[in-house]
């Protein structure tokens, strides 16, 4: 039995500890907002927060999350920065197909939580693990800057 906290709720899961967190979330818990894109930590679609840090859930075995706090897109609005990032993403109409966007939003929120005035280079470093095949990168960058401004970051 593995215990962990997912979106503020304590879960006790009787699963193979090697199961990637991604499939625990999606198949066991029905939290399908976290996406499967590559299964190899190459695309970022599966990004969630583990104790506030962005991780690729496809490469995070359940055992590694044991005893920790997992936050997914479904509960992101409970955080101050996450709620703001989602609002700005909406105002800016960032998504196209939308499939990568949960991961983009999770990565962007983690970045802005830790650094409310990211430079372009810092945005590149934090976001280049998240692929978008629809090519919304410029809208993502603009939204991060808008969110930074709304958080009182330096321009």
């Amino acid at each position: 039995m593995i215990s962990l906290t997912i979106n503020g709720k304590k879960k006790n899961l009787d699963l193979d500890p090697e199961t990637p967190l991604l499939w625990v979330l999606r198949d066991e818990l029905g939290l399908t907002g976290t996406k499967f894109g590559c299964g190899a930590q190459l695309c970022g679609a599966c990004t969630v927060h583990l104790n506030g840090k962005p991780v690729r859930s496809c490469g995070t075995p359940l055992s590694q999350a044991a005893g920790h706090y997992v936050l997914t897109i479904e509960a992101l609005h409970f955080t101050h920065v996450g709620k703001l990032v989602q609002k700005i993403w909406l105002e800016n109409d960032v998504p196209q197909c939308g499939y990568c966007q949960s991961g983009q939003i999770m990565s962007a929120t983690a970045l802005l939580t830790q650094n409310k005035s990211p430079s372009d280079a810092e945005i590149d470093a934090a976001m280049s693990g998240n692929v978008c095949r629809c090519g919304t990168y410029n809208q993502i960058r603009a939204a991060i800057k808008d969110a930074s401004a709304a958080l009182g970051g330096r321009r």
């Binding site: 299964g39 960032v94 998504p95 499939y99 966007q101 692929v131 090519g135």
Partner: protein, 713 residues
């Protein structure tokens, strides 16, 4: 057409009236569950309902893959309905003839054809409803309809009386449906041409948008399917003893396309597959290699092909002062949609239900009817959000295999491709080689041009098209065959070569490689003529105002003719595809180690009248990114019959740190709308390689761009 139909008791229309080839008022398909509420809303056609609350629901039979169709289609209806946009919602339609795209007569999303096909039918549906609402208001007031006007969901009489659509719903339902309602003069548009927000964004920022992969049914099994590693191979036998020992694995099944493991959830299925032992018969393609394919295509261009276009006479053309010959090549490409292919199918006695992100509901119905031996009308297709389409999701492989597996297992089955399965499942953009030769006169004017294209045929590979009697696949030649430049003697030939790889539609189809070929070669001609690449094109486009218009606009906005920023060089290209004209100027640098970096792309687009300019700008930018990924990195190669790429490490795509600034300028136009999902792509690669030529003097004739070739010696 004068005929007017009276809506049936339920307010649904049974018949359809066609004008100008378009379905004006479609039939409504009272899907189960919808009937109960149907007594209430006003539903003059399959395309919309107005509820007693005033809410307008537009029913869209097209697939949303990021291109904004679930916003554009409602805008068409809302404009002519004079709806209050804040009350407009959109709903995904089931599969039904009413939703066939008039451009190709089937329900499918592709060919940048959604707005083009539904531009009139959707507006007519809105206009018909508006006329009925006006008639109802006029009857209530005992006034003349001509004395009424509509604005934002309200009918206004010149006396100042007013009634909201919500209050007119019941009375409007009793009005006859006008067969040929009057459409607005575009100068009165208030919704079309506006940057309205997308209707599909809210669920896409909170994780609630349901893609195919997110479907969950009671009792459902998740399947992974292992296909032959070698093109065209077959499973001879398999040993599943270890697989069956994996907890969660329920069944191991053989299908015509491989061996599937069905389990509770993806992880168990994948673990089961990892220990599955399959003996393969590699078949005839075990020796296939990309070098052989490349040689075969190149050799074919040395010989005459089937003639696609022939103007003037190459043989008797004036003796040129200068001749040029060049061979261009483009590789097979995977679509690499962000969401890997998947489908959930449930085969029940006499019927099939599927949930999928598909671009082709209509054909899917027929195909799955055959697969499951049921009446096609008994195949229900639930269209989910598509995590990217780019043409790939119009292929039938994932829906067929999911249906086979549900039929064999007796359970609802979600078939999931791993990224590697997805990338190795074929359906590639065809590899292609084109050999050009041309002659210039002493003044640098082109006298003649011949292009010989060798590539596999999408038409023949598609399974639903046939090559025409002249043997020319139009997708293989589009972008070369329609060369717009004023060249008196012109011949374009096609040689069909089939190395055995399944080919398919890929964003902008033939234009994706052919515009790279033709525009690059035109750049070579400009250089040979000693002319500026922009001026050279402009002079040859005198009779092509729309090409010339975008070319000039892109050049002007990019500052063509002024010195580029330090370290950068510019290239330019122009293309027409899917009824839209796009020119692009690329500013790029080439580092000493040969690495190419694109800093800025300026695009000018003439797509006729616009529906939503912001969506247009985003689609052009999106296509630029897709084209740039392909130009820099895209390549599917074969060795010993196997695909060498599998995931985003071996098939890299553009990331945010490589993203150029993009500006998109739209030419104001009163022309009919053109397509928008694809036309931004073709000009990117030749504009980029033009910039590389300006920077290095080296001409890229083969994609993807090879940095080794550009290294400083």
């Amino acid at each position: 057409m004068k005929a007017a139909f009276r809506p049936s008791r339920r307010g649904f229309l049974k018949a359809s009236a066609a004008t100008g080839g378009g379905l004006v008022i479609g039939f409504v398909l009272p899907a189960a569950g919808r009937l109960a509420e149907a007594a209430q809303p006003f539903s003059p056609s399959a395309y919309l309902r107005i509820a007693a609350s005033g809410r307008v629901t537009v029913v869209c039979g097209l697939s949303e893959m990021g291109q904004g169709v679930l916003t554009a289609i409602p805008m068409l209806v809302a404009e002519e309905l004079d709806a209050d946009w804040t009350k407009v919602r959109v709903e995904q339609a089931p599969v039904d003839k009413a939703f066939a795209n008039p451009m190709f007569g089937i329900q499918a999303t592709g060919g940048s054809a959604s707005v083009r096909g539904f531009w009139e039918p959707m507006r007519k549906a809105g206009a018909a409803a508006r006329e009925m609402l006006v008639a109802a208001a006029a009857a209530t007031w005992k006034a003349k309809p001509a004395d009424c006007r509509t604005v934002k969901g309200i009918v206004l009489h010149k006396s100042g009386r007013r009634l909201s659509y919500a209050r007119l719903v019941a009375r409007a339902s009793k009005q006859p449906v006008p067969a040929d309602p009057k459409l607005k003069d575009p100068k009165h548009f208030v919704i079309l041409g506006q940057d309205l927000k997308r209707l599909d964004t809210p669920p896409k920022v909170n994780g609630s948008a349901k893609f195919g992969l997110d479907v969950r049914l009671p009792g459902m099994l998740t399947a992974v399917l292992t296909r032959a590693p070698v093109l065209g191979g077959k499973a001879l036998s398999f040993d599943d003893s270890k697989t069956r020992a994996v907890p969660g694995v329920k069944q191991v099944l053989r299908t015509p396309h491989g061996v599937a493991v069905l389990a509770d959830g993806y992880w168990a299925a994948k673990k089961g597959r990892d220990v599955l032992e399959i003996k393969w018969d590699d078949g005839p393609h075990a020796g296939l290699s990309s070098d052989d394919i490349s040689k075969r295509l190149t050799d074919a261009t040395a010989l005459p092909g089937k003639v696609g276009r022939d103007e003037g006479n190459l043989a008797t053309a004036t003796v040129p002062a200068k001749t040029l010959e060049a061979v261009y090549e483009a590789p097979y490409l995977a679509h690499a949609c962000m969401e890997p292919m998947n489908c959930t199918a449930w085969v029940k006695p006499g019927e099939v239900e599927i949930w999928a992100g598909t671009q082709s509901q209509g054909p899917t119905q027929g195909i799955l009817g055959q697969v499951a031996s049921v009446d096609p009308g008994k195949v229900k297709v639930h269209t989910m959000y598509l995590g990217g389409g780019f043409g790939r999701r119009s292929a039938p492989d994932f829906t067929i295999d999911a249906t086979i597996l549900s039929k064999l297992s007796g359970r609802p089955v979600k078939l999931v491709y791993s990224r590697e399965d997805d990338m190795r499942a074929y359906y590639y953009r065809p590899a292609s080689v084109t050999r050009f030769s041309a002659g210039l006169d002493a003044g640098g004017k082109p006298l003649s041009l011949r292009a010989r294209v060798a590539s596999p045929s999408i038409m023949e590979g598609s399974g639903f098209m046939k090559l025409p009697p002249n043997g020319v696949d139009r997708f293989a030649l589009e972008g070369v065959q329609d060369l717009p430049y004023d060249i008196p003697n012109l011949r374009v030939e096609y040689s069909q070569q089939e190395p055995g790889v399944q080919v398919w539609f890929w964003r902008s189809v033939g234009h994706s490689q052919n515009i790279f070929f033709s525009e690059s070669f035109v750049d070579e001609l400009a250089h040979a003529a000693g002319k500026d690449p922009f001026e050279f094109r402009r002079a040859l486009l005198a009779k092509q105002p729309r090409y010339k218009g975008v070319l000039e606009l892109a050049a002007e906005k990019a500052g063509w003719g002024t010195p580029p920023p330090a370290g950068l060089q510019r290239g330019i290209a122009v293309a027409q595809s899917f009824g839209s004209y796009v020119a692009e100027v690329v500013e790029a640098s080439v580092a000493d180690d040969g690495r190419v970096k694109v800093e800025r792309v300026v695009a000018a687009v003439d797509c006729g009248m616009t529906v939503n300019p912001e969506i247009i700008r985003r689609q052009i930018e999106s296509a630029i990114v897709y084209g740039l990924s392909a130009a820099l990195y895209g390549r599917i190669t074969f060795k010993d019959g196997k695909v060498e790429q599998g995931n985003f490490d071996s098939y890299p795509v553009l990331r945010i740190n490589e993203m150029p600034r993009v500006e998109v300028h739209i030419v104001p136009s009163g022309e009919k709308p053109g397509g928008i999902g694809e036309p931004g792509l073709p000009a990117l690669a030749p504009a980029l390689t033009g910039a590389i030529f300006a920077a290095t003097g080296k001409r890229i004739r083969r994609l993807p761009i090879d940095p080794d070739m550009l290294k400083k010696a």
